[in-house]
Symmetry: C2
Subunit: 315 residues, 2 copies
């Protein structure tokens, strides 16, 4: 039983997380590592685990050792929804970051068991009140929504440029069904054909999701909500090591924080973005999930406090 | 006698502003205009005029008509320090903005009377308690400091990449003498050889100025002060017309606000950045100084309020 970060709610809720589980080889200007535990579901679940119990949905292959399952279990992540496919190895990605980490190239990608992945939900997952659709094919994201019972879940969806390029219609149909759509600035421009980030966010809301967050990397994130706008800077990271999983960590912590408070309103989303930003800043300070996984509640609380001070102006 | 934006000080102070006065031809993706009143001193003075009395130091040529002087006078700007050189025309700049305004090319530049400009201070300017060294040759900026009486002035200096390229030593020597150095992100990287904006800001402080602000355009600005960091997003502009003078307007309003409160502490600088950001957002919504000059106190107050809401998180 792990001790999660306290919230003001008497009934913290679990978070269903669906996404890829992967082994990554990552090359950065400062070094490289191979066989890193990665994938959206891993980062999202680790991040959410500081706030709420993650119910993890994904698939791993015949090379996914017990030590990796133990890492996830030790953060209190429920693995009943994690399928094991013995027919092949786990999803594999190899990428390289250049210069100031502003550009990333995918050097190799092997879907492996992920190619045949069809999410299934254990019975107790189907009523999850908070659902994080990590970056996978939008049709699979929609499939997970079809499996949910009732329509009371608060759904956050993430995506990447690949799906905008090759599955735009499926993505456009998916985002009509989500409450909170999280996307980065270049993807938002691609999806809306709008260069101005404020107009892009407004357009995205008109495309379906009631709430949109546009992530701007080192420049922070902007929230578009019917009650208003909110702009949050990034945590001032000075020791960037590996940006992989930053967006997943942001989304996981954000939705985990909402679930732990069981709130979905504008003020709660703003507050949860501070937590998401704090947790993402930890992820990027080491390769893979290492720093994210081991950070601890007090370091997160400290960064949240620093972020609050960073944006504090006297009235 | 114009009515300035109220401050909490019983003794608002004037602001000495030195910089170029120019006629600009500006081409943008949305249109172009010729013969616009521009230059750092114009933008800085107009912006400062909402808060404090600007004492303007610069030079104009034989083509600078009374109508332009009247525009400046009608904002309560003191022109005793504005020299007229009948030997030639006013400084001229022609520039073009591309695509999303992210890139600017100088198409033509004619120094004209600015080439022989040597700032002179009327007697009552020499004890100005707030001094804005707009972007001109760092040796001229230093010359203005030499003319000041006493060493009690709070000095803000701005620069551009040109001086980093060709007058680095003069610039490095100048910034040791200023209290607040304002620079944009690409210039900060160029001057410090540091790509990480947080580390660049820290390095700049080690180079002399006690306080540094790095401007990031649409991504806002970061304040580096001995009492801490402060990050402020840009105002969410959706109708960008002409970015010329945005940085000058930011600096002018910022120092004007400090002068109007007669404060120089961390909290006051943060609060003044909100005003600077609000005023700069108005400047870019029209060509030249048009919107800046005519905005009015209540529009500025409204944008300040919107900016405060934009960064508001419940405790």
């Amino acid at each position: 039983m792990i001790e999660r970060i306290k919230s003001d709610s008497s009934k913290p809720q679990p978070v269903l997380v669906v996404g890829s589980v992967a082994f990554d080889n990552v090359i950065t200007p400062h070094g490289s590592q191979e066989g890193i535990l990665g994938g959206a579901a891993s980062y999202c679940s680790f991040a959410a685990s500081y706030f709420a119990k993650p119910l993890m949905v994904g698939v791993v292959g015949n090379d996914f050792g017990e030590e990796h399952l133990d890492r996830l279990r030790s953060r209190g992540i429920d693995l009943e929804g994690l399928q094991r496919d013995e027919s092949g190895p786990t999803f594999f990605w190899k990428g390289q970051y250049h210069e100031n980490f502003n550009r990333r190239d995918t050097l190799d990608i092997q879907l492996n068991v992920f190619e045949q992945f069809r999410p299934e939900l254990p019975t107790n997952y189907k009523s999850a009140p908070y659902v994080l659709l990590g970056n996978i094919h939008p049709a699979l994201q929609a499939h997970v929504l079809d499996l949910l019972e009732g329509d009371g879940a608060y759904v956050l969806a993430d995506t990447i440029d690949l799906w905008i390029d090759i599955e735009r219609d499926a993505l456009l149909s998916l985002i009509k069904r989500v409450n909170l759509f999280v996307i980065n600035d270049s993807e938002a421009e691609e999806l809306t054909s709008e260069k101005n980030v404020i107009l892009a966010g407004q357009k995205l809301r008109q495309m379906g999701p009631e709430t949109v967050i546009i992530k701007k990397g080192e420049h922070g994130a902007i929230l578009f909500h019917e009650d208003g706008l909110f702009a949050l800077p990034a945590y001032p990271v000075t020791d960037l090591r590996d940006p992989t999983g930053a967006g997943d960590s942001f989304a996981g912590a954000l939705l985990g924080r909402l679930a732990s408070r069981d709130r979905r309103d504008f003020e709660a989303i703003k507050e949860a973005m501070v937590y998401g930003t704090a947790v993402a800043s930890l992820t990027v300070e080491a390769f893979g999930c290492d720093r994210l996984e081991s950070a601890g509640n007090s370091v997160i609380a400290q960064r949240v406090q620093e972020l609050r001070q960073l944006i504090q102006v006297e009235q």
